[in-house]
């Protein structure tokens, strides 16, 4: 669906070098702190910025060769941009009908009603939650093959986030060959939704793993100085000095469970994992 190889973009104080791949029928998450390079990657994928190197292929084509027709196959949510705030949903419906051959008006209206979005109110007067729901509804309403969603749940409460994630699940179930690339700094959203996760930090992909593997094989171990000194460290990805000794991140939980039964091993949330990957030292 989408393949990025060594995408380079240089700004004064920032340098992006990113490779990632979105396979058919998969939901892929991109996690990273603010300023890690998520939005720059999304903008490059959408051809909104020039790039300094690398290749981006979507639907098997270089993105520079994508025409208006190809772009009908993607649905986009951008965190800092959307339809003109001066328009109403009522204004936007005919625009969508004419931009997208496969715009499903009945589906769109059903969700507008479900989310309680007003038809004749200017979008700039919408609440944050209404704006987010509207953006995602637009992205999923024209039978796109690929959704590119940059922080679609930013600023939403838990209930609203769950509603949107449910909408994305419905989207995936509707047709076989659909994929989603989604970014968020709220990892719980991605943990429950994504098949695989990329972690980006300082413009570099520092980890890529299937979510199942992350949740089953990755673990945080709390060890004292003596335990740390004697343990086998070949499967330790990151470590950090703590008051009690060391926190260690491993991707071979079972190995340590079997060989070091006295070590405290925690499953570890994705947030803790991110913190360790970013702040921890590597051996």
């Amino acid at each position: 669906m989408l393949k990025i190889e060594h995408l380079r973009k240089k700004y004064d104080a920032f340098d992006l070098d990113c490779s990632l791949e979105i396979k058919p029928s998969r939901i892929t998450g991109l996690i990273g702190q603010n300023g890690a390079g998520k939005s720059t990657t999304f903008k490059a994928i959408l051809g909104l910025i020039s790039v300094d190197g690398g290749t981006i292929a979507m639907f098997g084509k270089d993105i520079r060769e994508l025409g208006a027709k190809d772009k009908q196959g993607i649905g986009v949510v951008l965190s800092d941009s959307g339809f003109s705030g001066y328009l109403t949903i009522h204004d936007i419906i005919p625009v969508l009908e004419n931009l997208y051959e496969r715009f499903d008006k009945a589906f769109f209206m059903e969700h507008v009603r479900k989310f309680g979005l007003p038809l004749d109110k200017k979008i700039k007067e919408f609440s944050t939650g209404m704006k987010a729901k509207f953006k995602v509804t637009v992205a999923v309403s024209h039978n796109a093959r690929l959704l590119i969603l940059d922080e679609p749940t930013a600023g939403l409460d838990v209930v609203a986030r769950d509603e949107l994630i449910e909408l994305l699940r419905e989207y995936m179930e509707k047709e076989e060959e659909r994929s989603i690339l989604i970014s968020s700094h709220i990892s719980r959203d991605l943990e429950n939704l994504c098949d695989d996760l990329y972690m980006i930090h300082d413009g570099r992909i520092i980890m890529h793993e299937d979510t199942d593997v992350l949740l089953s094989d990755y673990a945080l171990m709390k060890v004292n100085d003596a335990q740390y000194a004697e343990m086998d460290k070949q499967y330790i990805l990151r470590f950090r000095k703590e008051r009690f000794g060391y926190s260690c991140l491993t991707n071979q939980k079972q190995y340590y469970v079997e060989n070091y039964p006295h070590i405290a091993i925690e499953k570890g949330s994705i947030d803790e994992l991110i913190t360790m990957m970013v702040r921890g030292g590597s051996l």
Partner: protein, 221 residues
């Protein structure tokens, strides 16, 4: 393309009160104006107000970084530019027609209609082309606020260059005013002059479109 046109028409709808007031003022001028048989001012005024709205739509598109989303829709940069030029022509021509209808209606009511009205009004259309050709690249390159300043600067430079050229030409014993006055002696009928102006305006409009496309292709959002 049609989707973008619809979007801009919807944006225009927001300003409908402004356009109604403009139309009422134009109608007032046509009916109560001082006794001329035709006032090209009304048609010109309406045409330019209509044509200029395409510049406002560019500002609306830029508002709140809206362009980033706009260009993730099935819209190419070239298509966007073509739509802005097309929209300027449609609204300009639409208001031109409205102005002309007002003028003719006022002329008929006052029993002073002449066919010259239509001919004179037709001459405003190439001026609409020139105006759009000049203003759109500035608006696309610099955006709403800066675009206006850049445009004023450009007008200044053009006037200065014109004055300078005239002086230089004068020094070489070529007088522009005389040359213009002598067009007739050069065997150019008024019809040919009009044709030349129309062709020139169309060519400049096309050149301006090409410049605007190259401006938009380079832009980052």
């Amino acid at each position: 393309m049609k989707g973008l046109l619809l979007k801009d028409l919807r944006l225009m709808k927001m300003q409908k009160q402004f356009f109604i007031i403009i139309t009422v003022i134009a109608a007032g001028m046509a009916v109560f104006g001082q006794g001329e048989t035709f006032s090209p001012f009304i048609v010109a005024y309406m045409t330019f107000i209509g044509g200029l709205f395409t510049l406002s739509t560019i500002s609306y598109d830029e508002f709140d970084n809206g362009n980033a989303f706009l260009f993730s829709l099935p819209v190419t940069r070239q298509g966007y530019v073509a739509e802005k030029y097309g929209f300027g022509l449609i609204t300009g021509a639409g208001f031109w027609l409205l102005g002309l209808v007002i003028d003719i209606a006022a002329g008929l009511t006052r029993g002073m209609f002449s066919a010259d009205t239509v001919v004179a009004a037709l001459l405003i259309l190439p001026i609409l082309l020139l105006m759009l050709a000049f203003m759109l690249p500035f608006q696309l390159k610099f955006g709403g606020e800066k675009g206006r300043i850049a445009m004023i600067g450009a007008v200044g430079i053009v006037l200065l260059a014109g004055a300078l050229l005239r002086k230089i030409a004068g020094a070489w014993n070529f007088h522009v005013d005389d040359a213009l006055n002598n067009l007739e002696t050069l065997n150019m009928s008024i019809g040919k002059v009009i044709l030349a102006v129309v062709v020139l305006a169309a060519v400049l409009f096309f050149v301006s479109y090409k410049i605007s496309v190259s401006i938009m292709v380079r832009k980052e959002f």
